[in-house]
Amino acid sequence: MLNRRRFLMSTAAAGAAGLTGLNLTPAFAEGAPQIQVFVPAAPGGGWDQTARTMDQVLRSEKLISGSQITNVGGAGGTVGLPQFISQWNGKGNSLMVAGMVMVGAIIANKAANNLTQVTPIARLTGEFEALVVPADSPFKTAADFVAALKADPTKVPVAGGSAGGSDHILFGLIAKTVGVPAPSLSYVPFAGGGEALSALLGNQVAAGISGFGEFSEQVKAGALRLLAISADKRQDGIDAPTLKEAGIDVELFNWRGVFAPPGVSDADKAAMIALVETMAKSDAWAAECKNRNWTPILLTGDDYAKFVTEDSARIEAILKDLGLA
């Protein structure tokens, strides 16, 4: 009796564990296709949220009947990428979510596979980065920050995300543009946005670089001062210049997009681009982007492929300068 009850309990538990791999969503639109989305990261992060938001919008717009999301996390996506290339080859109804973080991880980890081996569909969103200082910092403008950096970069510790990630890359690009040698920079990597933020609020570091969304509420509350953002143009409701306006010729979006597997037919590729394009132009998508501080920067097909190649080259160069590649 007891053994059977115990057995039933563990079976239920095993079932729960199995659920982590696939998340089936109910189908409710007739005739629309079912798609599969591969997320090379654990549930909860930016790529996973992109996939789940896409699923939500695609279903509410009746563009698909449902989607199946598979998470294979690890090492900036470089654990999942080889699986997507080998096991998902030729599956025309599949997409992988990836982005700039994966480009950096491929270079830094010297991974065997890269994004030229998959089929670019569309760049969807980007998050621009922000350069901030604690409220009582002597730096009032980006120019003050650059002046101090030029005077002695070792005296200006800057907090951000993990080494070789988008925050570190932006710091490297800023330094390169203003003529400060990359190896002399004092970059303090933190594992998560929260930890970097607490180092700033506790006045442990001189400045911080991270996604604008990480800092926006603290800036609103007056705990941090926003010096500049890395967007291409001034943003509504943000009272800070772009880096370019501040005299630092750098633009950077931590972009996210979708790729189809290798070996899909041209017809499947065209259909997938059309599907994603329709979604990205819907009001529901625009509303979700606004909620999540994502800037829609749609780019599809060959233009997207060209962009990925150029951005990879730029990132590889700066990672080499920083001694990480």
Partner: protein
């Protein structure tokens, strides 16, 4: 007074029938996933994120908070009964809890952990409601230098689990350092000890190591001794719940555990493991029953760390609700749920979303009550697990450990690591090396290294940061006292006791 008004309003939100139901669902689900190693609250909440498209914000946060607290309760059950920790914060619980279970006091261990969790969870939640602004100021004063000194203090706790031989204990500790170093180095982005394997770039999960060394190693050892030894498991000796003496030994440990857990949990890089280590060391030092530690199992060694673990879980909510700082994986996922409602968590959250925040805090109190009601009657059922004959029980543990490990990231490599570490655990057990220091080394080693290197980067290589910051100096002094204090004390005791009879020159 203003806080009381807010809290009353929060209870009004939380006591609506639907929200109570969400709370019940969350706590039940949380207990279940806490029991299973690998499936933690962060992953569960992440998988439930799409629910935010369907229900009101209050309801989903009450559900998430229930899962979060429930997992803290459930994690200790398997630690105690099967030596298989479900969460990294319950690894220390396994040390004494499993010893107690084997000697027939599993019911008491489960009871002290459930009631201790309730007491500490309630104290911690009171702390969130009334002390949050004060605690957060203290927590932000901790920079890398202070964290490093805190780690040094935590290293003193290792001496509490070293076992009979320091050389063997330290060997285990250093093995833990090496395993902890596997993966990409956060400071430079370079891989270390990965042997070119992509799967190792993120390092070895501490849960897998604990399950491998404790549960699998133990199982292999038992299998090898099947016909030789008579290391029997006594299912139950004495009463099912705690005796009066056990109550007397538990309550102080609960309070001390809560006092350690809450502030450290509130620190952005404090975590849930360090307070459990510190609590264990303190309880071992203060206990009048030192001989029970590591032999038949001392109840203080379960009560303290369990309380610390739950109080730190409440502490984590302090920076999250007051500043919008996510300081644990679970908090980070909960914050992303705020975003899907278009709520930006930040310093203004308490004023702009008072309903939501106070409803959440009130539901934490309710979740605590539900959890203790849910868990106490279950103890009778759980304890009967130990009546299963040893071969079947140990086979079950192996299945359980394997399924749970695979559940962490569906990676076959994790299973290879699990069984390699299981084999290592078997050999360590066979040659009498303690396994707990390996886990402590794995957790503390990389943390100490990271904070040390951060402190040195910020200070530009100037060592004085460690003794010029008052907080850091205080912690280092405490660590020094912890290290040499007992020796000096023992020396004085020794002199005083033997002094009168053996005056120099008198012999």
């Amino acid at each position: 007074m203003e806080t009381l008004g807010h809290l009353a309003h929060g209870f009004a939100v939380a006591f609506s029938p639907t929200n109570l139901l969400w709370c019940l669902l969350g706590t039940t689900l949380g207990t279940a996933i806490g029991v299973l190693p690998g499936l933690g609250p962060a992953l569960t909440i992440a998988l439930l994120l799409p629910i935010t498209y369907q229900v009101a914000p209050e309801a989903s946060f009450i559900l998430f908070a229930g899962i979060y607290y429930g997992a803290m309760y459930g994690g200790s059950t398997t630690s105690i009964l099967l030596n298989t920790p479900g969460e990294s914060a319950t690894i220390v619980t396994a040390l004494e809890g499993n010893k107690m279970a084997r000697s027939g006091r599993g019911g008491a261990a489960l009871a002290t952990s459930a009631i201790g969790s309730f007491v500490a969870g309630t104290i911690g939640t009171l702390g969130v409601a009334f002390l949050a602004p004060v605690v957060v100021k203290f927590a932000l004063a901790f920079g890398p230098a202070e964290y490093f000194s805190l780690m040094v203090l935590a290293f003193i706790t290792v001496s509490a689990v070293l076992g009979s031989s320091s050389v063997r204990g330290l060997t285990s500790l250093f093995a833990g350092f090496v395993i902890g170093m596997i993966g990409v180095d956060l400071q430079t982005g370079q891989p270390r000890f990965t042997f070119g394997m992509t799967e190792l770039l993120d390092g070895v999960d501490v849960i897998i190591a604990a399950v491998g060394l404790f549960a699998v190693g133990e199982t292999l050892y038992m299998a090898s001794r099947r016909y030789a030894g008579k290391d029997e498991i006594v299912p139950l000796r004495g009463s099912l719940y705690m005796t009066a003496a056990e109550w007397g030994r538990s309550w102080k440990a609960w309070l001390r555990g809560a006092a350690i857990g809450f502030p450290i949990g509130a620190m952005p890089a404090g975590g849930a493991e360090i307070p459990t280590f510190l609590s264990y060391a303190i309880e071992k030092k203060l206990s009048k029953h030192k001989e029970e530690f590591g032999t038949v199992g001392a109840i203080e060694g379960v009560a303290g760390p369990e309380a610390a673990n739950n109080a730190s879980a409440a502490g984590v909510l302090v920076p999250m609700l007051t500043l919008g700082l996510p300081t644990s994986a679970t908090a980070a996922i909960m914050l992303s749920a705020f975003q899907s409602y278009g709520i930006n968590p930040g310093p203004l959250l308490l004023t702009t979303q008072a309903n939501l925040v106070w409803g959440l805090i009130a539901s934490l109190f309710i979740a605590n009550v539900i959890l203790v009601i849910l868990n106490l009657p279950l103890i009778g059922l759980w304890v009967r697990l130990l009546k299963i004959p040893a071969p079947q029980l140990y086979a079950g543990i192996l299945v359980f450990a394997t399924v749970g490990t695979y559940g962490i990231s569906q990676s076959p490599i994790d299973l290879v690591i699990l069984y390699l570490l299981g084999a290592a655990g078997f050999l360590m057990r066979r040659f009498d090396f303690p396994t707990a220091p390996v886990i402590i080394g794995m957790i503390l080693g990389p943390l100490a290294e990271t904070q040390f290197r951060r402190a040195m980067t910020i200070s530009n290589g100037d060592w004085s940061v460690f003794y010029k910051h008052p907080l850091s100096l205080t912690l280092l002094t405490l660590a020094f006292i912890g290290l040499v204090g007992p020796h000096i004390w023992a020396f004085i005791e020794h002199r005083r006791r033997r002094g009168p009879e053996h005056v120099p020159g008198d012999a």
